[in-house]
């Protein structure tokens, strides 16, 4: 970590002796929050409910409770996007992976950085209003970078979940902590990188830890007090399921069901250490009071020998009742996964055509497999899946000691990157990775909260990697257009009523495309990986697009510390 390195250096020399003001400044900022004054009105539940129609603000991580990432403003359009210019650049104090979704409330922007810092900025000028520097506990255990994906605001509180597994409410005006609740014990592999979803005075949060033998959950905490209201274990006590031999697309997964049954008789249900993290926001169906979320991989990732059964509800979409956390329905994409091709990209609620062509409430999810899955919202059942957006080869070959080659690699397809949709065109926009890998298996016992992979997945040196932006018609499953990129893509995408999609690449390119045909209309070089989801908002009568350029830890894309806002001249 950039700042920490400096801090250690400063400590060594003795901060008092340092004449370099810049270094002292950075040390100070790492250790201390800078309280301030953000003149921002409280956010009401009514405002949040109507976020999908609000072009002034960007109130939720994925734009609105349906998570469409469709921004309704159209001042920036296909005709004028070539005139987009930098409005301002804000440099954070932390030069590590940026995955933040900027939230904008009435001209005030909230962004987060790696290591759980939060900044409030003037959305028009980029000027810092306050900075909350989280005092991290010594024990943090996480898999893919010290990331944070953002905050949400309700009333006059900003809600944050931290890497050391705490849930916090901050004062939206000053950045002061109002309450802090411990979510789970980091020493057992729990951590937080997701933005909370706040709805009806409940703060919804999941957990990371699928690489550490946790037992995953989704919880609701009281927004006023931080008290837990309900808990849903993503792994039920009966995790065995139906012994599915095929995946959601009908391909044989080569399970040895007899061996699994013998193991089950020997060791019993493996639910207690089975993983099943939830680290992306659920979508919220306000009409039916249900939430839809995806559950991640089983632990250990690549070795299924000690976890007989379907490993419910890993690699599944699950629907719960918002008020009680009670199970409503689920759909499992890959039972007994041994490839870490789990379900992570957040669900999206849109109206879809069912098999008979009737329009019904649907829910869609973009998989690491490279398919977009379209479900009936009523019972979670699968209506269709899209053409594969990335090459697939040798599916589902079982991992071996020496390593078995299979495409896609373990990062996908679509990784955690949220998709965007344009309901007017019935298109879903996803960014993809193509990384040829070999899958290796090793067996070991549960290691008390330590890294528990059950093997390794290795990028094959010398094989070409790439990425793409793909638009899929979710009513037909057909690919409408595809733009290839030189490197695997991770971060996120935004669609706008101006007929555009915005997304970034690991090489620093950030670009706007015609959302109907994928034609590139504008681009910018950020100097560090643009691997975060963009947001858009209006202030002073002008539309802005904002994105973090901080690179990515997991794919080792060039790090930076910039929040960049663009507007028309």
């Amino acid at each position: 970590m950039h700042v920490k390195g400096l801090a250690a250096f400063a400590a060594a020399v003795g901060v008092g002796l340092l004449s370099g003001a810049a270094i002292a400044q950075e040390v100070k900022q790492e250790k201390q929050s800078v309280l301030g004054n953000a003149n921002v009105p409280p956010v009401t539940q009514e405002q949040l409910n109507a976020a999908d129609k609000n072009a002034k603000d960007f109130l939720l991580t994925n734009g609105n409770y349906a998570q469409t990432r469709f921004y309704p403003g159209k001042q920036i359009s296909r005709d004028n996007v070539r005139n987009l210019h930098v409005a301002w650049i804000f440099q954070t104090d932390v030069k590590e992976s940026l995955e933040t979704s900027p939230i904008v409330v009435d001209g005030v922007m909230y962004v987060t950085t790696s290591f759980s810092h939060v900044y409030a900025l003037d959305a028009k000028t980029g000027q810092q209003l306050w900075h909350y520097a989280h005092k991290m506990g010594p024990i943090t255990v996480y898999c893919c970078g010290p990331n944070n994906r953002g905050v949400q605001v309700l009333g006059d509180r900003v809600y944050l979940a931290t890497l050391d597994s705490k849930l916090m409410a901050l004062n939206a005006k000053t950045g002061e902590a109002v309450w802090t609740t411990n979510i789970a014990d980091p020493e057992l592999g729990y951590s937080e990188t997701m933005a909370p979803t706040v709805v009806k005075d409940k703060v919804l949060i999941g957990t990371n830890g699928g690489e550490y033998g946790i037992r995953g959950f989704v919880r609701a905490y009281d927004a006023k007090t931080g008290k837990q209201l309900w808990n849903f274990n993503t792994i039920p006590e009966n995790s065995v399921g139906v012994w599915a031999t095929k995946d959601a697309t009908g391909r044989d997964m080569h399970r040895n069901i007899q061996a699994e049954k013998d193991m089950l008789a020997k060791i019993g249900d493996p639910y207690a250490k089975l993983g099943g993290g939830v680290w992306q926001n659920p979508s919220v169906d306000l009409a039916t009071n249900r939430i839809y979320l995806v559950v991640g991989n089983p632990s250990p990732d690549l070795d299924g020998s000690n976890r007989p059964g379907d490993n419910l509800y890993t690699n599944s979409m699950v629907s719960l009742d918002l008020d009680t956390g009670k199970y409503v329905c689920h759909f499992q994409y890959i039972a007994h996964d041994v490839w870490d091709l789990d379900a992570v990209s957040p669900t999206v609620l849109v109206d879809v055509k069912d098999k008979g062509g009737k329009t019904i409430p649907g829910v869609i999810h973009a998989g690491k497999t490279g398919h977009i899955y379209v479900h009936d919202r009523k019972d979670c059942s699968l209506i269709r899946f899209s053409e594969a957006m990335v090459p697939q080869e040798n599916m589902w070959v079982l991992p071996t000691k020496e390593g078995a080659r299979m495409l896609p690699g373990a990062n996908g397809g679509v990784e955690w990157s949220p998709i965007a949709t344009d309901p007017g065109q019935a298109l879903a926009y996803a960014i993809n990775l193509h990384q040829p890998m070999t899958y290796h298996v090793e067996t070991s016992a549960y290691p008390n909260g330590k890294l528990w992979l059950g093997g390794a997945f290795k990028v094959i040196p010398g094989e070409k990697q790439s990425g793409n932006i793909t638009a899929v018609n979710y009513n037909t499953g057909k690919i409408a257009w595809q733009v290839n990129t030189p490197e695997p893509m991770i971060g996120g995408i935004l669609a706008t009523a101006g007929g555009l999609v915005f997304t970034g690449e690991g090489n620093g390119k950030f670009a706007a495309y015609n959302s109907s045909n994928g034609k590139e209309l504008w681009s910018f070089r950020a100097g560090a990986g643009v691997n975060a989801p963009p947001s858009s908002y209006m202030v002073g009568g002008k539309q802005y697009v904002v994105v973090g350029a901080g690179g990515n830890t997991q794919l080792d894309y060039k790090r930076g510390n910039n929040i960049i806002a663009f507007t028309l001249d």
Partner: protein
């Protein structure tokens, strides 16, 4: 072997003095005998603990005490400590400057091999940019070469059994690539 026994004997002597230790300085006095009074370990197979990540140091002491990480030398030392002691000791050493062991940079071809191997497994996804570590993941940049080679070999045979995930990753990497990584990391 003789050297090892000598170190063990020193440790026991020092330990006797340590039982009634009070302050953090007293508690850590014994460590200097091996890990170095100036942070440079006295023997090449002993790891650098000055400037190491606090979370990682704590977890190692915990694991030595539990017996999850086997070491005839470190286990009796760690057994003395309660959780709070371990956290305090970890914090104490993490605040010290990382010592420069003066190890040479890896030659270009070795570095290139190491970087390819590192990218294949994705070491920086956990050990972070420039292998600085964070939290419970250790800093590797500038760690003693012989210690790195030893502990990686121990991961591979699971003689070091306190992190099966790291063992799996080391087993999936060829000995050749690991040798290059050792050179490269030591010289960072």
């Amino acid at each position: 072997m003789f050297g090892k026994l000598m170190i063990g004997a020193t440790a026991l002597l020092l330990l006797a003095a340590q039982v009634c230790a009070e302050t953090i300085e007293d508690k850590v006095a014994v460590c200097a005998g091996c890990h170095g009074a100036d942070g440079k370990p006295v023997d090449k197979t002993i790891p650098t603990i000055w400037g190491q990540q606090a979370g990682y140091l704590y977890i190692q002491l915990r694991d030595f005490k539990r017996g999850d990480r086997k070491s005839e030398i470190m286990q009796p030392i760690a057994t003395q400590f309660e959780r709070d002691d371990m956290l305090a000791i970890a914090e104490y050493f993490s605040q010290k400057p990382w010592p420069d062991l003066g190890q040479p940079r890896a030659p270009k071809d070795v570095a290139a091999k190491a970087i390819t191997a590192s990218a294949s497994v994705g070491c920086p996804a956990c050990h972070l940019d420039r292998f600085q570590g964070d939290g419970t993941v250790p800093r590797l940049a500038g760690m003693g070469r012989d210690y790195l080679a030893k502990t990686i070999a121990d991961f591979r045979t699971r003689a070091r059994g306190n992190n099966p995930g790291m063992s799996d990753l080391m087993l999936a990497t060829s000995p050749d690539d690991l040798a290059a990584l050792v050179e490269y990391l030591a010289g960072l």
